[in-house]
Symmetry: C4
Subunit: 205 residues, 4 copies
């Protein structure tokens, strides 16, 4: 059976690859510094930029790994899948914006606000993954022929835990922003592992 | 029958993927803000940037979907197709420029001007799609072997309505700029649906 | 016979696609304009940016078309081809730099200098294409099995005319910069047509 | 035997292609220059930008060549390979940051510092390649079926020499920064040649 979604995956891969690479453009290069000590101080003060870069790079990479795994199960597409995938790419592309805000304002009175925006975006992203899978799995004929109902349910559960976790990080951002970021990092790590687990459960194509 | 246009499609996909992702670079990140309230005000005032990003992202995504569907019907290329495709990519790449102007000057006395430029570009884009299809469909041997004359005509009609609609949006921009943008958004949605319809009419490759 | 250069082509396509799309980032967006008339004046004054964008976009697109056609004839690679191809990609990527200089300083006393740099880069590019083909065609076993000696010579001639033409444009830049740019545009058009001719002479793979 | 790592390679190629092309954005375009002589002076003074661009472009290109050759030997992936590859892409993407610092501060009292950061990144990169190969080669079933133990060891030795060489460049940066850069350039050239040697030793896939 031919995979109809091949060109959509290739296009999505392109967008993920560019979105992940553009993140480095937001890392602050100090200007007009006149001594070695001053440059060192500037670089040390840029740590929120490095942290934001690292966190967002990891997030988009794991989003890509998951996208890859999700579309391994989807063989045909309909209009809803095409446009939800477009929305997912819009969100992946957008990551650089709250990342830039986070890097610039983490060390400021607006810390809570930028962490809320940052974690809020990931709530939206996990919701979109869930919706994409919910819509795709409604139509058995869109899926990989040998996918069992148990596997479909397992994927759904994994995404629901993702939504719950990122929502918790979002709520935490209102009371303890640094903790919210830590939680966000932990969640991507968790997602990385559970998506590994998913793959082991089913035979590979 | 081998598809001679495969590498041209892959290259075009690359250009579309980059053009769509670069749009986020134009979204304004507020600088030198000292309080949370000030940042919030700045972000709220940035809504034309978010709107322009959303509109242009959707436009390029639907352009890509259409490009994909168009080249599903074209199996061979000649010099005219190669260079019209190049012109189409030039226009797709250019979208970010009037988008940046729109975002920066929507909330200014130059509103009408930037909406005219923005909608005008889409007139050019739909005209180029129409021309590309007109030239390709003149030579039956360039097309997918099983494509019926009815299908060829249907695609032509779809593009003509696209040109008509975007021209209307362009004219509207001279009298009611916000309405012109609304019309533009509606047209992309329309195109999204009609291209879906086209696909259902013909068997897929 | 398998084509060993496939992944090199895919990577090169990626670099060409990105280089061509990044050009738009150099197109000047006017800042801090307060009236419609002022914005219109600014946009009209930005014509060297539009011209430079158009010229460089066309150049890179035709470079890509030629790269595609050249590598259709090359089936195996050696270290020399790998690194000359890398140098070609470096030059393709570099196009945006003299383009930015051209756009910014065409309307200034430094006009001749920036046109010299711009046309000079294309001398280097056509020289590199010639060298790449010279080295590849020395080893018959690297080439497409059915390529005739006449075809090999014809490609060599095409590239030599390219070098001669772009060298003429470069020399012209010292006496009549606008004429040099016109010549450069004419040459890309010429190359576009001759590369079309090459393809007609040989059966396609 | 199917190659499971195909989509990972395609994604990595995309990231390398973008990272290598973005480097040109950091090359300094002089602003507000009023005469030809002044522009010429500015361009001549920009030599550290050109040098940094050339060095980083070459580095990423050779990194890509090596990545290509490494993944020719790896047929299956596990979580460790997926995430080490992600870390490698993060480092490849990061190259533009120390490159920008190097270009801006090479001609300043902070010269030693920026050369240390630049060469330090390449120590990390070669270490990651070594670790990736060490982990992959532990599991014979992840590798190309016909790979001999001698070949596995030879690749390991090549990477170890890479780590040793870049560490030497890093240490040199503390006493003689220009020499460290020269050493770094020499090492990439060396790696280019040894990776060529590796390929000659084994039959190609």
């Amino acid at each position: 059976m031919e995979k109809e979604t091949a060109r959509m995956e290739a296009f999505s891969d392109g967008v993920f690859a560019i979105a992940i690479t553009l993140l480095v453009l937001d890392v602050h290069v100090p200007e007009q510094v006149i001594s070695k000590a001053a440059l060192l101080t500037e670089l040390r003060g840029s740590w929120p930029y490095y942290l934001a870069f690292l966190l967002s790079f990891s997030s988009i990479y794991i989003m890509w790994v998951n996208h890859h795994k999700l579309f391994k199960q989807i063989y045909k597409r309909n209009s809803a899948i095409t446009f939800l995938n477009g929305f997912l790419l819009l969100l992946a592309t957008s990551v650089s914006y709250p990342t830039a805000l986070l890097a610039r304002y983490y060390d400021s009175p607006a810390q809570a606000l930028v962490v809320q925006l940052y974690t809020g975006l990931f709530v939206l992203i996990t919701l979109t993954y869930t919706l994409l899978w919910t819509l795709a799995s409604k139509h058995q004929d869109l899926l990989r022929p040998d996918l069992t109902p148990e596997a479909i349910t397992q994927i759904k559960h994994t995404y629901r835990w993702g939504v719950a976790g990122h929502s918790l990080a979002f709520v935490t951002a209102f009371v303890a922003p640094p903790l919210a970021l830590l939680l966000s990092a932990a969640l991507w790590t968790y997602w990385a592992f559970t998506s590994g687990r998913l793959e082991l459960t089913h035979p590979k194509v």
